[in-house]
Structures are given as structure tokens and as C-alpha cells.
């Protein structure tokens, strides 16, 4: 008699050797969505605990950057802006999304190592860790974004209906940051040099994106290469939504495609690596 009496249970767990690539288990992710909020809430709580300014830092950090940029690039170097928009709001409309991008990117790249203590002791869909980081960073972004809107209005620039497109560019930003962050996080499992490289990479990338200058300053011959930088598309989009600069043209598509490729490949590689990552952690 080979047939075994097995109790019926909706919770049958099958453990087997997995080989090759596999699809993301979206249902499992959805079932554990509560954990996503708890992890995001933990990230926020822990980050601002015992600080005096608390979530004020979410505003202060990009603000200080804007002040420096305004003095150096706007004041000393007289970097031209589109439509003669005042430099402080011209740069802050890019610095604030950029801050989110940098936070998601470096947070995702380091999140697995930072959570090694949990990952080696209990199972849950591993992707929740980087996703929780995204959620936590979005809270910071939300606070900074409200201040940004206030700043724009204070400078007498009127908000246009184009602002309704913000979620689209925000999504593009997240997809790009998360996708690339997952790549770095997966590589970082094996080669810890990556985490040393990330801050440098973020700074370099910031100057390769239209944060302190207008994309119109980029020589025409370089425009196509420039458009391959997905953050160029994202920031051009943000400026259009907020400040009414030129509508993003077809040069947005390379950005979108690169971001999507980064995201899909990043998630796939992460899925592959997470399987046995606790053996390396």
C-alpha cells in the first residue's frame, strides 16, 4: 500500500530543489502584505527614533542640497534654467525625486545584508524587504514633496494640470531604482565591494542626470545616449509636471525601456539569488 493517508490542509508546503529561473509568486507576496507595512513602519520608526527633528530630516537633507546647488550652480556659475525658472525651485524639483531614487537604490542594495538576522531565521517572501524599504522611503518623499509644492507656489510659479502625471513618473523612478537596487543587492551577496561602490555610483549618476542643470545644456550629439539614462526621463518628466517646462518628447522612451529592463531583470536575478542567499549571508 503506497497510498498514505494525508490530512487535508490548505497549507501544504512543498520543499524541493528549484532549478533555473522562476516566476515571482505574486499571490504569496499579496498574502503577506501586512508584513510589508510592518517592515516599512519599522524602518521609519527606527530611522527617526532618538532624533530631534524626526521626519524633518526627510525635508532638511534635500533642502540643504538645494541651498548648496543654488549658491554654487545658480549663483556662482549661473547655470541656465528652462524658461528662466528661479534656480532654487528648478533644482529642488529634481533634487527631491533624486533623493528618493538614491534612497531606494542604496537601501535596496544594502537591505538584504542589513536584515540578515531575520532572513537567516525565518521565511517570508524575500522581496518584501526591499519593497518595505521603498514604502518607507515614499513616506519621506511625500513629506518633502508637500514642502516642494509650497516652495513652487511661494516662487509664484503656478501648478498646471500636468501635475496629475506625477504618479507615472514616480512609478518609473521606483521601477528603475528598485530594479537596479535588486541587481546591486544580489551582487552584493557575493561581492561585498558593491556596497562600497554604491555611494560613489549615486553621486556620479546624479551629475549624469539633469539635476543641477537643464537637459537642454546637453550637446545635441549626446542626446540619444543621454536618453538611455532612465533618470533623465524621470527628471524631465518631474520638471514638466511641476514647473511646466517642455513636454517630454520621444526621448522619454529609451528611459522607459531601460527602466523596465532593469526592473524585470533585477527582480528575476533577485529571485534566483534569494533561494540560497542565507548560505552566503
Amino acid at each position: 500500500m503506497t497510498d498514505r493517508t494525508k490530512p487535508f490542509s490548505p497549507n501544504v508546503t512543498l520543499i524541493r530543489v528549484r532549478s533555473g529561473w522562476e516566476a515571482l509568486n505574486l499571490r504569496e507576496l499579496w498574502n503577506r502584505r501586512e508584513l510589508l507595512w510592518f517592515l516599512a513602519w519599522r524602518d521609519i520608526r527606527v530611522r527617526y527614533k532618538q532624533t530631534i527633528l524626526g521626519v524633518g530630516w526627510a525635508v532638511l537633507q534635500p533642502l540643504m542640497q538645494v541651498v548648496v546647488f543654488s549658491v554654487v550652480f545658480g549663483g556662482f556659475l549661473k547655470v541656465p534654467t528652462d524658461n528662466s525658472i528661479p534656480y532654487p525651485i528648478f533644482s529642488s524639483s529634481a533634487v527631491i525625486p533624486w533623493t528618493l531614487f538614491a534612497a531606494i537604490l542604496s537601501g535596496t542594495a544594502g537591505s538584504l545584508i542589513a536584515n540578515a538576522g531575520i532572513l537567516t531565521k525565518v521565511y517570508f517572501p524575500r522581496l518584501l524587504i526591499p519593497l518595505a524599504n521603498v514604502a518607507a522611503r515614499l513616506v519621506d518623499f511625500g513629506v518633502a514633496f508637500v514642502i516642494l509644492i509650497g516652495l513652487i507656489l511661494a516662487y509664484g510659479v503656478s501648478i498646471t494640470p500636468a501635475i496629475l502625471w506625477i504618479p507615472v513618473f514616480l512609478l518609473l523612478l521606483i521601477v528603475c531604482a528598485l530594479g537596479f537596487g535588486l541587481w546591486l543587492g544580489a551582487l552584493n551577496m557575493y561581492i561585498r565591494d558593491i556596497q562600497m561602490l554604491v555611494p560613489f555610483l549615486v553621486t556620479l549618476w546624479e551629475f549624469a542626470s539633469p539635476v543641477v542643470y537643464s537637459p537642454n545644456s546637453v550637446p545635441a550629439a549626446w542626446r540619444l545616449v543621454y536618453a538611455l539614462n532612465p533618470m533623465a526621463g524621470v527628471l524631465i518628466g518631474f520638471r514638466w509636471c511641476l514647473l511646466g517646462t517642455a513636454v517630454p518628447g520621444p526621448e522619454i522612451w529609451p528611459s522607459v525601456i531601460v527602466a523596465l529592463v532593469l526592473f524585470v531583470s533585477g527582480v528575476t536575478v533577485f529571485q534566483r539569488v534569494q533561494r540560497n542567499m542565507v548560505d552566503i549571508l
Partner: protein
């Protein structure tokens, strides 16, 4: 033929680890990319690289019926924790498969997911969520968890200010209220003070009695004996024995003594010495039982001592410890009013005679020391090989068979005035 329903079914499970790190093996990024893009390591590449791998588990096949409480014993590094990690899906097996029927929780550590900056209350919610409790479940059980932890007054204190005992209590309290069908526990009772350990053990036997299936890894044989009805003995990644706890644990204990006898784990090192213990045996016992006590009768330990240089004021100490390191009994050459003893070079036999040694069955470690009282010099400090095995027939009620220290027949009587 009727069979019990199965809770855990394991077929040919194996896990291979890479020895050494990815970085610095001369094959880093390339090797990693190779792993990443090959669907499965080719047999050839395994053969080439085999020395760099270690099988932590191999060919594990067994079923565990619903409601069984199964202990897992074995020396360090035989794959006990790896097995639990695979079953709790923390890491994938390299070969084979397993099926778990029911909601599974793993308790591989006390306080999983705790963050020092968060308060006790916040950590209960966080840890619960990590273990898969829903918000509703947690709200329902929150008061119970707090009551179990006995930390009502410290709920709003950050956990980083907790003592280690408080931390463990909070962690176990969360884990104790998970209500899984299958519970995987790894050596978590080794922490905390004694009264809390007892509380945890009681909680675990409640869980066991409620018909849950429990897999319990521990080095504490008393805990295994108390909780588990069946025990798996792992050795070198394979199942060496699987049966009723009493038998398997007894075999495991006596064999682990044999292993230390054969191994080079003698605490003696070097070949130059003034005096040294060579061996011990039970005087008057036949050769095959020279280290085994199976009857309640006088016991005479004989220790062979080799003295190479004269010792003017010799003094010997002798102790019995249980495997958890508790001192059971100690004696010395001062007993019976004898003072320091002069030794000239030669072989001696030291006898420690006890009217009986009524201990619970199990293995015990013997320790002997030898001093020169002149200048208070420790000449030898010896953990005896092999260890002492006691297999007296149990004299108490089966329920208490493994509890306590002494195993003494007791005459009970009752009288009404």
C-alpha cells in the same frame, strides 16, 4: 492497513554547502555568473569542485505522523539545524524533497525580528508579523502574550534596555502563541533562567499535547526525554537511528562516549609530566562492563596514576558531573581523614568506594585532579575517558522517569491514626 496521517514527509533530502567563501577562491565573479546562468551544475563541474563542497545532509527519508513530538539529537555539525532550516524554507535543499501538511512555524532563535530601538509592544507586533500572524490574530492574543512574558511594566521600554532574560521572555512569549500545526524548534530552551526554561518546556508540552507536530532539536537530553516520544539521531548528515526516545537517546549517549574514547579528545597533552592519570575502571567489574553501572550495589572507582617524579605532599580530587556540567558528587584523597600523601615514582591505583550510585540513567563525566600541595601545583587535570554510563532500571513512575537526579527505590506506606 490503516496508517496515521502524515505531517512531514521527507524523501532523499540533501544539502550541500560550499566550503570557503565566494571571494578569494580565484573564481569569484566568473564562478558566480556560471552558477547563475547554468540551469543546474553539470556533473563534471561537481566532480571537479567536489572537494570544495560539504554535504551537511544526505539521503534523509522519513515520515513524521501528525501529533508526534520528535527530538533530533546528534553532535554539533551533523546537520540538525540545516534540516530545520530546509523545512522552514529558509534555505533550499540541494536534492530531494519534503512536504509539510499544515501551517508551519519555525522557532530557530528567540526574538526573531526584534529591533532594539523599538519598544516591547512594538516588537511583539513586528515579530508576530514576521512569523506570519495577522494583525487580527495579534490583537486577539496580545494580552496573552504580554501575560506570558510577565513584562507588563516594560511594554513601552525600548527592547535595547531589556536585560537578556527579559528579551528572551518576550521573544519566547511571541513564539509560544503562534499556533501552528507544525512547530520546528532549534535549541531555544538553552537560554533564559531556570524557571523560565521550565515555563517554556511546559508550554511546549502543552503544544505537543494539543496534537501539534513538533520537531525539536536540542543538546539537552533531559528536555528531549521529557518532551519527545520519538527521536531521530543524525550523524554526518544521515539518519543513524529513529525510534522511541528512550532507546535512541540511550544509544546516542553511550555511543558518544565510545566516540570520545576512540577519539583523541583526551584532555591530556604532551608527553612530559610529573604525575598523570592513565585510566579508570570499576574495580571488580568484568571487562565489558568496566564503565557501566547497571545495579544498585557498591561502586568502586579505580584510577590508575603514573608518578614520574617524587611528590612530597600529593592530593587527589575526583568528581562526577552530568552531561550538562552539573556537579553530582565530589570526593578527594582527604576523605576519611587522610592528609597529604607522599609519592615516589611508580604506578598507583587510587580507589574511591561508594556504597551505591543511584543516579538516573544516562552518561556522566568523571573528572580527576592531582596536586602537589608543596607550592600548590596542579600536576594533572583529567577529564576521564571513557565516560561513566548508568543504566539502572528506573524505579519511579514512568511519567517521572527522566526527571530529577536520583533513581532510588522508595517504599511508600500509609497509616491512619
Amino acid at each position: 492497513m490503516k496508517r496515521d496521517p502524515i505531517a512531514i514527509s521527507i524523501h532523499g533530502l540533501g544539502k550541500r554547502y560550499r566550503i570557503g567563501s565566494y571571494v578569494g577562491t580565484g573564481n569569484t565573479l566568473r564562478g558566480w555568473l556560471g552558477d547563475l546562468f547554468s540551469r543546474r551544475p553539470s556533473p563534471q563541474s561537481i566532480a571537479e569542485q567536489e572537494p570544495r563542497y560539504l554535504w551537511a545532509l544526505r539521503d534523509l527519508t522519513f515520515d513524521i505522523p501528525v501529533g508526534a513530538v520528535v527530538g533530533i539529537v546528534g553532535r554539533n555539525g551533523v546537520g540538525k539545524s540545516t534540516l530545520l532550516k530546509i523545512l522552514s524554507r529558509i534555505t533550499d535543499p540541494t536534492e530531494g524533497s519534503a512536504e509539510l501538511y499544515g501551517k508551519t512555524s519555525s522557532l530557530l532563535e528567540v526574538g526573531t525580528g526584534f529591533h532594539g530601538e523599538l519598544t516591547g509592544r512594538e516588537n511583539i507586533y513586528l515579530s508576530g508579523a514576521i512569523f506570519g500572524m495577522t494583525r487580527a490574530e495579534m490583537a486577539r492574543r496580545f494580552d496573552e502574550i504580554v501575560a506570558f512574558s510577565e513584562l507588563e511594566r516594560f511594554l513601552d521600554t525600548p527592547v535595547k534596555r531589556y536585560s537578556s532574560g527579559m528579551y528572551v521572555r518576550l521573544g519566547f512569549a511571541v513564539a509560544a502563541h503562534l499556533d501552528p500545526d507544525i512547530l520546528l524548534v532549534d535549541e531555544v530552551l538553552a537560554v533564559g533562567d531556570l524557571s523560565f526554561q521550565r515555563k517554556c518546556l511546559n508550554r511546549m508540552s502543552d503544544v505537543a499535547q494539543a496534537g501539534r507536530t513538533v520537531l525539536f532539536v536540542s543538546h539537552q537530553m533531559t528536555a528531549i526525554r521529557r518532551l519527545c516520544n520519538r527521536t531521530i539521531w543524525l550523524e554526518a548528515g544521515r539518519v543513524k537511528d529513529f525510534g522511541s526516545t528512550g532507546e535512541v537517546v540511550a544509544r546516542y549517549e553511550s555511543e558518544s562516549l565510545g566516540a570520545s574514547e576512540a577519539g583523541a579528545s583526551d584532555s591530556h597533552q604532551g608527553s612530559t609530566y610529573r604525575a598523570r592519570y592513565l585510566a579508570w575502571a570499576l574495580a571488580g567489574a568484568p571487562e565489558e562492563n568496566a564503565h557501566l553501572i547497571s545495579m544498585l550495589e557498591p561502586v568502586n572507582f579505580r584510577l590508575a596514576l603514573d608518578v614520574r617524579e617524587s611528590v612530597r605532599a600529593g592530593y587527589g580530587g575526583f568528581e562526577i558531573f552530568d552531561l550538562e556540567g552539573r556537579l553530582i558528587w565530589s570526593g578527594s584523597s582527604y576523605d576519611q581523614g587522610r592528609g597529604d600523601i607522599p609519592f615516589i615514582p611508580g604506578r598507583y591505583e587510587l580507589f574511591y568506594r561508594l556504597p551505591m550510585l543511584p543516579l538516573k540513567p544516562g552518561a556522566y563525566r568523571l573528572h580527576a585532579s592531582f596536586y602537589d600541595r608543596e607550592g600548590d601545583r596542579l600536576l594533572d587535570d583529567w577529564w576521564a575517558n571513557p565516560e561513566l554510563v548508568i543504566s539502572l532500571p528506573p524505579s519511579s513512575h514512568p511519567q517521572d522517569e527522566w526527571q530529577g537526579v536520583l533513581n532510588l527505590p522508595c517504599e511508600f506506606s500509609i497509616r491512619k491514626d
